[in-house]
């Protein structure tokens, strides 16, 4: 079941478009914001509201890499693996991150704190290597900076 806030936010999005289906991606993002990820139940909820079939919604949800169809950690680390970051030391940065976290790309730490995902170019090529945690962009990465970032989010 959609909570009131979710419903209201999705209804506000509908105003922007000619057709209801257009709000599908935004609806998935809204659910994910409230619930952390999009479960099968979440797909059903959106389908009902937008008058789509659950298959149609899932079809969209599984296409976009920023929609999570599996549970993720409290903080999702998205490390850029595109060409400028690769030239500037992506392999080394990834190696340090996976060692510190004890997980590989696509995995979540046992304590549920971090999920590590590779992501395409963040448009921070002049400040490479780069990664994002939630809404924050971190650039000019090195070992020290990564340790600082992890400590900050570990709290």
């Amino acid at each position: 079941m959609l909570i009131d806030a979710e419903r209201q936010e999705i209804m506000a999005e509908l105003q922007k478009y000619e057709q209801k289906q257009a709000a599908c991606i935004e609806a998935l993002k809204i659910l994910q914001k409230h619930r952390g990820w999009v479960s099968d139940e979440g797909i059903q909820d959106i389908a009902e509201l937008l008058e789509l079939t659950p298959d149609e919604v899932d079809n969209v949800a599984t296409f976009y890499n920023l929609i999570f169809r599996k549970p993720v950690g409290k903080h999702v680390i998205m490390i850029c693996d595109s060409v400028s970051c690769w030239v500037m030391g992506y392999d080394f940065i990834r190696g340090h991150l996976t060692a510190r976290l004890g997980i590989n790309l696509g995995e979540t730490t046992a304590d549920g704190q971090f999920t590590l995902l590779p992501v395409a170019c963040l448009g921070a090529c002049d400040k490479a290597p780069a990664l994002m945690v939630g809404n924050e962009l971190y650039t000019y990465l090195d070992e020290e900076k990564i340790d600082e970032i992890l400590n900050k989010y570990r709290g």
Partner: protein, 424 residues
């Protein structure tokens, strides 16, 4: 040297508010356009200016607009979209414009929308540009409050709604027709052309999608005219260009320079030359989907026609440098892994061909390559080339591969012969 697009931009400072932007001469062009010019006059002016699309393809902007059906009896609403889904690896020029001067984009969009008599406009922004999203939202609200957007703009009788749409990832969204599907709430797969979006686009209505940098030029052309715009450039293509450099150079960054500035000047004067201890080996001039260029091309002018003449593309004009301590096979492998992952799966050659290319390159890089792999890769550059796929993703992916096989042939062979990457 005039820098119309970046004159208001101060790095690490808040962008100009609407009042500040007006003081700097902003929104005068909207006033001039909607109160004193017909849509036809604007289309003609932009055509005459020689402005070509800055998203990579370089299509003449005014000509694109001229395909939109006009008059009382056309389908409504008509749409204008700012393609701000900047996702071409190595490209960060639109980020500068979006974060640095959001009102400049809005002003360009109002005039462009008026020129095609669009009713609704969207900014399709990529998810990662969080700061740009905040600044655009604020600027859009200010523009509504001051009647540069909304009903009856400045009393002209012309109305325009503008919305910010933030994506959820996938490189494919930058492709014009895929962007339309995404905006309709569907998977970002490409559409067959014709019909072209100018006639049958978003929900089947006439739609124009222009790149951010393209739209940012419009107000300046209205204010200063076509001769001024052509005079900004060193070559046939009018205007300035935001060039960028990333890789092992002293000062990576982006700069607004005359269109047609040479690679050498951009690399040596603006990017400060190579980082100490690293030698230049090559570059891809305009994002991941452009052909490698090498030392002999350093004096090539960075404009659409000059770069095409030497077998590459200007693309986004944001170049990525290959140095002598970076493995060219590894770099191409990285590019093809990206394209294989981002293929939308809509058409078979791209969905099946790109992963094969990527796996082969990975094997070569790890020492498992076979001599016949090179021929197989070469055949893919033809089989996945223009005309064999639904959209430009796979042909674009083949550009750096094809040129790498030509310029770095010996490096590929060495990997296969020695069964390892010589850089590791």
């Amino acid at each position: 040297m005039e820098k119309p697009l970046t004159k208001n931009i101060r790095l690490n400072e808040e962008p100009l508010s609407l009042k500040g932007y007006e003081k700097a001469g902003g929104y005068q062009a909207v006033r001039k356009a909607v109160l004193g010019m017909t849509p036809d006059e604007i289309v003609k002016l932009v055509k005459d200016s020689g402005l070509r699309g800055r998203g990579g393809a370089g299509f003449p902007t005014g000509q694109k607009w001229s395909f939109v059906p006009m008059g009382e009896n056309v389908q409504r609403p008509k749409y204008l979209i700012a393609n701000a889904d900047e996702m071409e690896p190595g490209t960060f020029k639109d980020r500068l414009l979006l974060e640095g001067d959001p009102h400049q984009l809005i002003e360009g969009m109002v005039i462009s929308a008026y020129a095609i008599q669009a009713d609704i406009a969207y900014i399709f922004l990529r998810w990662a540009y969080k700061l740009a999203a905040l600044r655009l939202e604020k600027a859009i609200a200010e523009a509504y409050q001051n009647n540069y957007l909304g009903k009856n703009i400045l009393g002209s009788g012309y109305s325009l709604e503008l919305h910010l749409h933030i994506g959820a990832g996938r490189y494919m969204c930058g492709e014009e027709t895929s962007l339309l599907n995404s905006l309709e709430g569907k998977r970002a797969t490409p559409r067959a052309k014709p019909p072209f979006p100018q006639v049958c686009g978003l929900w089947g209505r006439p739609t124009i999608a222009n790149n951010v940098e393209t739209l940012c030029n419009i107000a300046h052309i209205i204010n200063n005219g076509t001769e001024w715009f052509k005079g900004l450039s060193y070559t046939e293509d009018g205007g300035t260009k935001i060039y960028g450099v990333s890789g092992k150079v002293k000062k990576p960054g982006a700069w607004e320079l005359p269109m047609g500035t040479t690679i050498r000047e951009i690399l040596e004067e603006h990017a400060g030359g190579m980082y100490p201890g690293f030698k230049f080996r090559g570059l891809i001039p305009g994002g991941a989907s452009t052909e490698f260029l090498v030392e002999e091309h350093l004096d090539v002018k960075m404009d659409f026609d000059s770069v095409q003449k030497v077998g590459s593309r200007l693309g986004t004009g944001n170049m990525i440098i290959l140095d002598d301590k970076t493995c060219p096979v590894g770099m191409v492998n990285n590019l093809e892994q990206f394209f294989a992952r981002e293929s939308c799966g809509w058409c078979t050659p791209c969905r099946e061909g790109l992963p094969w290319v990527a796996k082969t390159l990975q094997a070569i890089e790890e020492g498992g390559g076979e001599p016949e792999d090179i021929e197989m890769l070469e055949s893919h550059t033809r089989l996945l080339g223009p005309g064999h796929t639904f959209c430009a993703l796979a042909p674009g992916a083949m550009e750096p591969l094809q040129s790498a096989l030509k310029y770095f042939e010996e490096d590929f062979k060495k990997h296969i012969r020695e069964k390892k990457c010589p850089w590791k």
